[in-house]
Amino acid sequence: MYNKFFQTTEFYLIVIISLLFLTIGSQNSAFFSINNMFDLIRSGIVPGIFVVCALIVLVSGGIDVSFPAIAAFSMFTTTTILSEAGFNGPIIVPFLIGGAIGFILGIINAVFIALFKLPTLIVTLGTSSLFSGFLLTFIGSSQISNLPTSMLNFSKMQILKFTDETGIVVGLPISVLVTAGIVILVSLLLKYTMIGRSIYAFGGDPASAERVGFSPVFIQFFVYSFVGMLSGIAGIMHTSMMRNSNPVDLMGSELLIIAAVVLGGTRISGGHGTIKGALLGLLLVITIQNSLILMGIPSYWQRFVIGALILIGTGLTAVQVKKTNAKRKSILT
């Protein structure tokens, strides 16, 4: 058990991340300030949920690029409805509506994937184009800034709040608890429930899963609707954190999120992947993105550096995975 850990992708990621932390920290001590750590977490709140979504789908043997579209659709539609209705009820309502919308859009994905047995990548490519097209054509295209008060208050609530020596108020937005909740919930779901295990089984070997008595259709419907719901919730959190609902937000973040998850040791072939790893992968990506100024990298070079670091990160893990796959218990005795 103990020495096994040293062969996991998680371990290699932790090594890579610590190295990165040390390099940045040595460049700029501010990096290790609580303030900065909190900011890293803050930037991870919404992506954190997306990472969970991408992980679930990848483990089930699929690949989903539609979650940002679903999130944008849910958040903007919800805020439109609510501001039309002059809503000023409790925060739970937008979350429920957003989640519900996401759930329905997820079902649409599931229909094409589970019933028509179409390749997941194509389906989600199609639906994300469809969803965002519909959103911006028929629902609305200009930002909404006068959010319901409950959402504004939600965005203003902070935990672990304190003022540091430079007079900056440091704190974590309350929404971090939602993400944390979802992460814990999904971890438990994946490890301790039958549906969770069946997702792994199905991802590992769909044919065998069916032979053992799992229902592929049910599993896929669950996966895509559940992921849709999570995306919807993520969308609502994004809007309220930004105090403004912009229908073109979030789009285009899908590939980087998937990259982060795969970085975290999740195999595109399905069946393998842990939340722990996925979050580490995300941490790596976010750290890279949010430390370029601290490292004093001029703005013109930043995109280049991001690209290079992604390649290095994925390269290192790929090589490591190759190694572990190569080693196998000996036939010789």
């Binding site: 184009s129 013109y300 930043q302």
Partner: protein, 352 residues
């Protein structure tokens, strides 16, 4: 060397005969369907706004539009046939176009004679094409030798190449290219615009590459079943290296068209093409799992999207509506193919 008594095939029942030919029918069936969809879109758009859509001008205008993403789609297609994907094509196109434009602007004196300018332009073109190959090789190495999933590799290089382009240009466009070059780019043979000619050339190239060369065969075999290809003595890594190199090459050709048509080169031109090309390839019947893809299908898909886009522009509908329609079109094509194949197989079992 062998002389074995050849067992006689024995009579086959008609049912079985059909069954044996079925797969072919299917493949073509999908293409035929795509053809009808293309025609449908064309006629639909034509009948909605005949005056604007069905005019020579609008055809010429289309002929200036689709070559660039058409060529990029070919680049995307061949990587998908190999079972991978290339998200970096647009970045490559821009990086190479910046290189070419840079060379022309730097080394071409305004008062240069026709001869010298042609030479320098040729040189610039050569450089950018070589650059395209190199960028592709970078992808190929990362995919085949290091073993990083293509989607991650090309996601990284997409950033990397664009990053380089930004560093070189400080983000600004390179302008002031020799008139000669953009004249070619916007010129036409008779009424056939130059970009369209380039597109046709690329189609022919790609067709030869895919269907007439040993490489093309190997590429499709590797895409179909990399294990079997390994057991057949095909060197998968060499094939993949070439595949991504060619993808880079086509991307750089698209890059040159971009310079010609915009008379400038910029780090972020055409970023919206990436998803479009995947859409085109998939719609054109390229198998995402790899192994299969017909140039004719891709061409039809390119035209279909162009008809849609131009037709919808003529209606002054918002561009978001296009995304919406494209999404629907894509899913529709897939569902129709799937369903009709299922029906065929059902029929078959009954016949037995």
């Amino acid at each position: 060397m062998l002389n074995i008594p050849k067992p006689n095939p024995g009579p086959l029942e008609p049912g079985q005969r059909k069954q044996l030919i079925l797969p072919i029918l299917n493949k073509d069936g999908n293409l035929t369907r795509l053809f009808f969809i293309m025609m449908f879109v064309f006629i639909l758009m034509g009948s909605i706004s005949p005056s604007t859509f069905l005019s020579l001008d609008s055809f010429i205008s289309m002929a200036y539009q689709f070559p660039v993403f058409g060529i990029l789609s070919i680049a995307m297609m061949i990587t998908m046939v190999s079972g991978g994907i290339d998200l970096s094509i647009v970045s490559i196109a821009n990086l190479t176009s910046i290189l070419a434009a840079g060379i022309m602007v730097k080394f071409l004196p305004p008062d240069a004679s026709l001869m010298t300018s042609i030479l320098i332009i040729a040189g610039a073109v050569a450089c950018s094409v070589i650059m395209g190959l190199l960028c592709g090789l970078v992808n190929g190495i990362a995919v085949s030798l290091i073993g990083i999933p293509p989607i991650l590799v090309t996601l990284g290089t997409m950033q990397l190449f664009m990053g380089i382009a930004i560093v070189i240009t400080k983000g600004q466009a390179i302008v002031g290219l020799p008139m000669l070059f953009s004249d070619i780019g916007n010129g036409s043979l008779g009424i056939i615009p130059f970009p369209l000619i380039m597109f046709i050339i690329c189609i022919i190239l790609a067709y030869i590459l895919l269907n007439k060369r040993a490489f093309g065969l190997k590429l499709q075999l590797v895409g179909t079943n990399p294990v079997a290809s390994k057991y057949s003595g095909i060197s998968n890594s060499v094939v993949l290296l070439k595949t991504y190199a060619f993808s880079g090459l086509f991307a750089s050709i698209a890059g040159l068209l971009i310079i010609a048509s915009t008379n400038s080169a910029k780090a972020d031109f055409g970023t919206s093409y990436i998803l479009q090309t995947i859409l085109v390839a998939v719609m054109g019947g390229v198998n995402v799992k790899g192994g299969f893809g017909k140039i004719s299908g891709v061409v039809m898909a390119v035209l279909t999207l162009q008809f849609l886009s131009t037709g919808l522009n003529a209606l002054h509908v918002g561009n978001f509506f296009k995304d919406f329609i494209w999404g629907i079109a894509l899913l529709l094509v897939m569902v129709i193919n799937e369903v009709s194949n299922r029906i065929k197989e059902k029929k078959l079992v009954k016949q037995n």
